[in-house]
């Protein structure tokens, strides 16, 4: 099995160095590291079908045991690779019609791409760790004096602000007189007078709105409406007017009663 023509750019670091800890498979039809097997399988240089899945699993388990005993960290990713391999093989054993999408070849390609990327990162990690590192290769000053900035608050104010503040405290806490502003209202007396005199003009029904001063402000109209209503009730009570309403919230009508007639 030749490996000289392999275009592997980034073999996992321990494989590139022939790391004795790497999983080295000796299977029927294949002998070598796992990563390479996958690459060759994809390139159809090796027939996965000819590899005994049992032998693979056996060797894998032995490897895991040994790695565990050596406290190697390799186990986890090799487990994944081996699982992939087993899956791949079982997929390839299926008749074409029953093969799932993606095809085993695509799976192999995908697995190989993943291994390449992981290999690239392993090599990058190794190169990173080999750089001149602080505390190992280069050193910063052992006993720096340290820089310190002491912050000090300087308070600022001015005389005018002080005097103004005092004036405000004084003004705020001084005794206060409250005024209630005059509001436009129609007193009951003036409403009574107004409604009585207007009722005197006609015997027809009049709506209560007709009694309101025509040019009043909305506030005065509300007051006049209330006062006129009470005035109308008062006139009705005195037997001088009658009140009618067709239903709730319908216009309230008022009419003068002839002298002597009961309400």
């Amino acid at each position: 099995m030749t490996t000289s023509d392999q275009p592997f750019m980034f073999l996992p670091a321990e494989m590139a160095k022939g790391d004795p800890d790497a999983l080295y498979l000796e299977l029927d039809g294949w002998e070598g590291p796992l990563d390479l097997l996958l690459d060759l399988a994809r390139r159809q240089k090796v027939d996965l079908k000819q590899i005994s899945i049992l032998a693979l699993v056996d060797q894998y388990l032995t490897y895991i045991e040994r790695a565990g005993a050596m406290r190697l960290e390799l186990a986890a990713d090799y487990l994944v690779m081996a699982a992939w391999l087993a899956y791949l093989k079982s997929a390839m054993l299926l008749p074409k019609a029953e093969q799932e999408d993606p095809s085993p070849e695509e799976l192999a390609l995908k697995l190989q791409l993943r291994l390449q990327r992981l290999g690239a990162m392993r090599e990058a990690a190794a190169r990173l760790m080999a750089r001149d590192r602080i505390g190992r290769d280069v050193f910063v000053r052992g006993a720096p004096e340290g820089l310190r900035t002491d912050r000090k608050t300087v308070w600022r104010s001015d005389l005018f602000t002080i005097i103004q503040a005092y004036g405000q405290v004084k003004a705020r806490t001084a005794p206060r007189i409250y005024h209630v502003a005059n509001r436009p209202v129609m007193t009951l007396e003036s409403a009574l007078e107004r409604v009585a005199s207007m009722l005197g003009v006609t015997l027809e029904w009049m709506e209560i709105r007709d009694f309101l001063p025509p040019h009043a402000t909305p506030e005065l109209r509300r007051s006049a409406l209330a006062s006129s209503f009470v005035a109308a009730l008062e006139l009705a009570k005195r037997g001088r007017a009658e009140i009618a309403q067709d239903g709730a919230f319908s216009p309230l009508r008022i009419r003068r009663l002839k002298e002597g007639k009961a309400a």
Binding site: G142, T149, V154, W155, S157, G167, V169, R172
Partner: protein, 215 residues
């Protein structure tokens, strides 16, 4: 002691320089010699002399302290290590009022300040005024509880350009100047204070207070 500083440093000089730079404590000539792989103390001494001369004009000096060598900041630059940064802040509204009350009424206790302001005064407010150096405790009032009374300081008069407390305008003058105008206007003026200058606790109690007084 006579290395011209314009020559490239030799290997030993560089090694001594790096070792002293990275060392966590001053090193003796013997310690340096053994650290550098068993050099002759005389060679180390020569390298130290060259380094010392080279650094003499720099911001960092190589100095011998009781036979042990280390780098330290040049004495004329020591002020760079401990810098004081001044931060100017405007007095909060609450602190301004308390300061004004103390100035007009001193000596005055905290309870009296609160009764004049109509709101509680946080301890921090008085601390700020004392930190500024404008207010000082001025003994205790001989009443039950013996409360501390506060007064202004000469620094206060100085900062606010007053020859004496008698220079503070009186109530009548304040009224004439419109400074006793009704609260609505005073409120507006107060709201012109930037809110973040008022410390939160004070701002909250001020607001509650102002609401009670508002129409």
């Amino acid at each position: 002691m006579n290395a011209p500083p314009d020559e490239e440093p030799g290997t030993l000089e560089r090694a001594v320089e790096a070792t002293l730079f990275a060392a966590e404590e001053p090193l003796s000539i013997d310690a340096l010699a053994s650290h550098l792989g068993g050099l002759a103390p005389g060679d180390v001494r020569a390298a130290l002399g060259q380094l010392e001369a080279r650094y003499r004009t720099r911001g960092v000096h190589l100095v011998d302290r009781a036979g042990r060598w280390h780098f330290e900041t040049a004495p004329d630059l020591a002020h760079l290590l401990r810098r004081e940064k001044e931060q100017v802040r405007r007095l909060s509204r609450a602190a301004t009022e308390v300061l004004a009350i103390i100035a007009y009424h001193e000596p005055v206790s905290r309870a009296e300040i609160e009764s004049i302001r109509g709101v509680q005064t946080s301890a921090g407010t008085l601390d700020v005024l004392m930190e500024a150096g404008w207010v000082r405790p001025a003994g205790r009032r001989e009443v039950p509880g013996r409360p501390v009374v506060y007064a202004t300081t000469p620094v206060f008069l100085d900062h606010f350009g007053l020859a004496s407390r008698r220079d503070l305008p009186g109530i009548d003058e304040l009224r004439a100047a419109g400074l006793l105008d009704p609260v609505d206007e005073a409120m507006e003026a107060a709201l012109r204070f930037e809110p973040d200058e008022i410390d939160e606790a004070d701002a909250a109690s001020d607001d509650a207070d102002d609401e009670n007084l508002a129409d």
